[in-house]
Symmetry: C2
Subunit: 356 residues, 2 copies
Amino acid sequence: MMSEKIDLRRIARELNISVSTVSRALRDSHEISVETKQKVFALAHQLNYVPNPYASSLRRQKSKTIGVILPELPNNFFTHVVNGIEYVARQKDYHVLIYITHEQASQEKALIRHLQSGRVDGVLASVCAQTNDIEHFLGLIQLGIPLVFFDRVYEEIGVPTVTTNDYEASFAATEHLIQQGCKHILHVCLPLHLSISRKRLEGFCAAMKKYGLLVDSHSWLVADDMESFYRALETRLIGNCAPDGIFASVEKLAITVYHICQKRGIRIPDQLKVLAFSNLETAALLAPPLTTVTQPAFEMGKKAAEILFRKIEKRREIFEEQHYVIPSALIARASTLGRLSYPKFSEEHVAMNAEK
Amino acid sequence: MMSEKIDLRRIARELNISVSTVSRALRDSHEISVETKQKVFALAHQLNYVPNPYASSLRRQKSKTIGVILPELPNNFFTHVVNGIEYVARQKDYHVLIYITHEQASQEKALIRHLQSGRVDGVLASVCAQTNDIEHFLGLIQLGIPLVFFDRVYEEIGVPTVTTNDYEASFAATEHLIQQGCKHILHVCLPLHLSISRKRLEGFCAAMKKYGLLVDSHSWLVADDMESFYRALETRLIGNCAPDGIFASVEKLAITVYHICQKRGIRIPDQLKVLAFSNLETAALLAPPLTTVTQPAFEMGKKAAEILFRKIEKRREIFEEQHYVIPSALIARASTLGRLSYPKFSEEHVAMNAEK
DNA sequence: TTGTAAGCGTTATCAT
DNA sequence: ATGATAACGCTTACAA
């Protein structure tokens, strides 16, 4: 009942030819006669032969596998990035090993260290929020294992990066809030050692200053963990000096905002306008529809993978220090629009240009 | 600048001991002296040694890797399932290879065939909607590679499955709609060769019959592809015999319903009540909040992985034909509730019992 | 407690 | 055009 595993030796024996001939025939080598190839193909197919990837990887010193390191998986941005990566990997006939750090530096470190084993030919990573220690990545680099960062990057260490135009998109989003009448905008974000947090905060601050609005340390709130963030934000929203606008640096913070508003009866957009970096598929269906800075997630994953494969295929090239930027789109919906109340609202789609 | 790769030989040479001693020391074998172990550990650590997984896998004939086959990734249900799988895999020190079929049978076939190579020690799969051909899975089974299905399963072929209580949850959800006054409910679902589609449809039909409501071939609408589904549903919703309730078998169909209602100004729940199997994190924030049958996604992934590892660890055991069922929860929200209009609504949480 | 050597399944080199 | 053989890096009998 249980069929045995077929290897090259078996095929060779049955056809009375050598293992190396079989190997070459299966790889369609030009130095093998057409007849032999046909015989080999036929038998291999009949026996349902599938080459052992570990033997092959060991011998050839390449794994046909790339590793993807993510902070979390149930996240619309990251799943679309992975789709983009997978799209390219499939074309290259590569396998995708996914590792999730759950935002924990210890896991990120352990994973990266493990990947120095040669298990993968290259690594795509979006770093975790908990730390800014980069030692472990340097280990990978020193071993010559290609690495590309996407979204959450370290720009200092000479590794290609793929990001969206965080600063500019954030600037434009902030301008949008201001133009809708907000004067006291609260920016909520992840810890500031993350590149995305810093750039988006910078874009926010720059726009505020441009319009002469006050920016101080109360203008932003960092979410170290979601529980304490929830409480801090709730306090802030029901207090005396509540903001009239919230700019959420990442999607899940915006969802928290909505939950608090629902619970506390705060009316969006009348009392509070809300805007977020988000790839939520249901953004247009929320109460009220959420204005988003929508990131080109699929394209970012695709681009990052393409760069990685270029590095894998010809290591000697010097395109370190390449920083690709793919622009996000601001999609204005009811959560930031004037006095319009749900469900009457207009959608405005503003594409922004790439920088650098 | 580029550091070289370290192998056992290198460590052995430097310590003037044999490769096998190093190997045993690193695996903390009891037949190696404490001193030697310490020396080896120290040097291994200093040189940043990481064992080559391909060499090890080839020799030991196991990969320490499991494969996960999914129809799609940007899907709240599947991402949480993967989290559950990953939770278990991490404990077992296993790697997770993710493959996405994009609902295409050809890809599913090719993937499964490839996995007969020994690349993985076991496979977790949720089958694609496009086919009900199971040949390829039989190939895996014959090679003795452990397989567990989750969510979208084939029950006929003696493979353990992990599902939610699709029939019962669907029955209860339909009852809920009926109790809220619906008389003409339309069930929208994926193709019926999928186990989940069939069971949920059966639960729906049974409940309808129980309450003496008409069930015929117009009572359900199958979504073969999303474009034609959108058009068909839109036609149906604005036509003469529009339903007064919609029961969506999977989340993305419910989202389509919401989009159509928004576009056509159909008021939920006044004109149309809507309910769906869904793990949408924003269900409570939609306009109006969506009543869901929430599946225990994480637990399903965890359970499926646990069963898989039991199979991997002791192949000889006969627990084929195990079918685990983990119940879903009906969470009633405004989209199905009486004449209440948003945002005043109450949440009702109804847990259902497991079956079988 | 440690060393020697074979072998996992494939590919690459060198013959023929 | 094909075959013999070594090697990839590790594990594991079997010896010592």
